[in-house]
């Protein structure tokens, strides 16, 4: 299911019947309910909602993916450092992680958005990633500690394998399953966050489409313009559900493994 969502994201825009930003006829065709030419209807500026949803998938999921990459890198860095160095560094880094976890992510993002004005999509993705590394850090620390205690890594250390090589060749491959799990979890958190902030008008700025800001197009008349709410909403739920199912599978697989 996640594969379907991703595939649609990649090839979707080629099948999009209209340009996502073209205003077809702002007077005659604004806010039209779904029809054959416009299966998802049109928005208040007479843009085709299906095309906007398809292009928005690239924007929304692109941001989420970049955010996950940032979160994973930061989290791995913090988590692995804590586990490898140990001692006071470990304590300090984990206290920092706990502190960051105790703070509602959205407040920090709101603060950042308030102080930077309107954001470009990559910056927005960086910010989401920079506020989401804590779970990864904890998982990676735990797994690294477990790996370090295994025969395999202990013998590598005894044999005098240099640190960089030890980390690259012996530690990172072992961490991959953990990173996969952490990544899907972070993805399932990043998609709604992006959509939510864009919905509030604080993320991706129109005319660029994002699943969040298409919903905003319905403004206060969501009942008469239900198609602007329903379709992007379904996309969000389908994506997050897919990510959650994958995350659960990975967790179950990992637990089954000795």
């Amino acid at each position: 299911m996640l594969a379907i969502v991703l595939a649609v994201t990649v090839v979707g825009p080629w099948f999009a019947p209209f340009s996502p930003t073209e205003q077809l006829d702002p007077i005659a065709m604004a806010s039209m309910p779904p029809s054959f030419t416009h299966p998802f209807g049109t928005d208040t500026f007479s843009r085709d909602v299906l095309s906007r949803v398809l292009y928005g998938a690239r924007v929304s999921l692109g941001i989420a993916t970049l955010a996950v990459a940032v979160a994973l890198s930061l989290g791995t860095l913090v988590g692995a450092t804590a586990a490898l160095v140990g001692g006071r560094t470990d304590l300090l880094l984990m206290r920092l992680t706990d502190t960051a976890l105790a703070f509602p992510r959205i407040l920090l993002l709101l603060l950042l958005v308030a102080s930077t004005g309107s954001l470009s999509a990559p910056t927005f993705a960086l910010l989401i990633g920079a506020t989401g590394w804590m779970t990864t850090a904890r998982l990676v620390r735990q797994e690294t500690r477990r790996l370090l205690a295994t025969e395999h890594l202990r013998s590598a250390r005894v044999l005098g394998v240099p640190w960089p090589r030890l980390v690259r060749r012996h530690l990172l491959p072992g961490l991959l399953p953990t990173l996969a799990a952490a990544g899907t979890i972070a993805f399932a958190a990043a998609v709604p966050l992006e959509a939510g902030l864009s919905f509030l008008g604080l993320g991706v700025q129109p005319p660029d489409p994002s699943w969040g800001n298409i919903i905003t197009g319905a403004e206060s008349r969501v009942l008469e313009r239900w198609w602007m709410v329903l379709f992007p909403t379904l996309c969000i739920v389908a994506t997050v559900l897919a990510a959650n199912v994958v995350a659960e599978r990975i967790t179950v697989e990992r637990r089954r493994r000795p």
Binding site: T99, A102, F103, P104, R105, L110, L111, G196, L200
Partner: protein, 322 residues
């Protein structure tokens, strides 16, 4: 026990200090100032703007501004909200109780419902209904709060007209008991949106915890002694399975608050979330900082209380952490 407490307190204090510093830095980095936002046109001549800035202390050296900033926060004085033309502390004083009401209700029903559902699922993991609700739980878990809120607004509120769409009270509504009923009527949908998702999260963890103790020796021992099944369930299994979920509460609080921000905004619930978002949108910096600082202090206090509850509930933790 007291050392654990001190550690937790220190951590909480650290969060608050970090929040205060970050908000000051970010506000300093912000482009423009409130006066640029109000007087966007060129109608206000530059000297007048400069005078406005200096009269509000925007041109003092940075350390002076920071000292004033910290001093003011310590006195509960967050400055003046330019867009609402009233002191920030007053705005927050009006908004905070509303948020506490909403989140308290959501938390109560979410925890209670989630724990009950999860406990039952974990106790009878093979039954069809248990499996179906577990799948449903994963679906609900995948619905972001604001999406659920929007859907609730479309269905029950707008299409069927069962509940009010927005706000907290009817305008010029009745007072006294009728007013209270009116308030509850407005509370149902936003609280439901928040608590349903919380319920799904809690149920999943409660189910796992219950599965963990289901075949534990003390449960089997209780059965072997002939303790009735219902009593085994409540007194022996559930009591032990509740602790991990209690621990979860503290972790969930920040996330629940994040959801509340969006849900409040959608239902125009006049709480901290709506206030914060509006303040960000209108670049009302003092209000943004005030809201963020007060909200994070509340979340930190909530997390602390949850930790305390865990220590109280599980004597083993008190022993090992001494």
């Amino acid at each position: 026990m007291s050392r654990v407490l001190l550690g937790r307190l220190g951590q909480a204090a650290l969060v608050v200090v970090l929040v205060v510093c970050t908000s000051f830095v970010l506000i300093r980095l912000a482009p423009g100032d409130p006066f640029a936002a109000i007087y966007q046109s060129q109608e206000v001549p530059a000297p007048v703007r400069a005078q406005l800035r200096s009269s509000f202390g925007f041109d003092d050296p940075v350390p002076v501004q920071f000292a004033r900033f910290v001093g003011n926060i310590a006195r509960g004085e967050f400055g003046w909200s330019v867009t609402l033309s009233s002191p920030v502390s007053e705005v927050i004083g009006r908004a905070l109780p509303n948020t506490l009401l909403l989140m308290g209700t959501a938390f109560f029903f979410g925890l209670l419902g989630g724990a009950a559902l999860g406990a039952w699922q974990g106790w009878r993991p093979r039954s069809t209904l248990s499996r179906v609700t577990d799948r449903l739980g994963l679906l609900v878990l995948s619905v972001p709060e604001f999406v659920l809120a929007l859907l609730l607004m479309l269905g029950p509120a707008l299409a069927w007209g069962l509940f009010p769409v927005a706000g907290m009270r009817q305008e010029f509504g009745p007072g006294g008991f009728a007013g209270f009923v009116d308030l509850l009527h407005h509370l149902v949908l936003p609280a439901f949106a928040l608590s349903l998702i919380l319920m799904a999260v809690v149920a999943r963890h409660q189910r796992a915890a219950m599965l963990g103790v289901r075949d534990a020796e003390f449960v089997r021992a209780a059965r072997a002694r002939g303790v009735p099944e219902n009593r085994v369930f409540v007194r022996h299994a559930l009591r032990n399975a509740l602790v991990p979920v209690l621990t979860l509460t503290g972790v969930l609080l920040p996330a629940l608050f994040g959801g509340a921000v969006l849900v409040e905004k959608i239902f125009a619930w006049p709480g901290m979330g709506t206030t914060t978002v509006d303040a960000v949108l209108s670049r009302d910096y003092h209000l943004v900082v005030g809201c963020v600082v007060v909200s994070s202090i509340c979340v930190v206090i909530g997390t602390l209380l949850a930790d305390l509850a865990v220590l109280w509930a599980d004597p083993r933790l008190r022993e090992t952490q001494r």
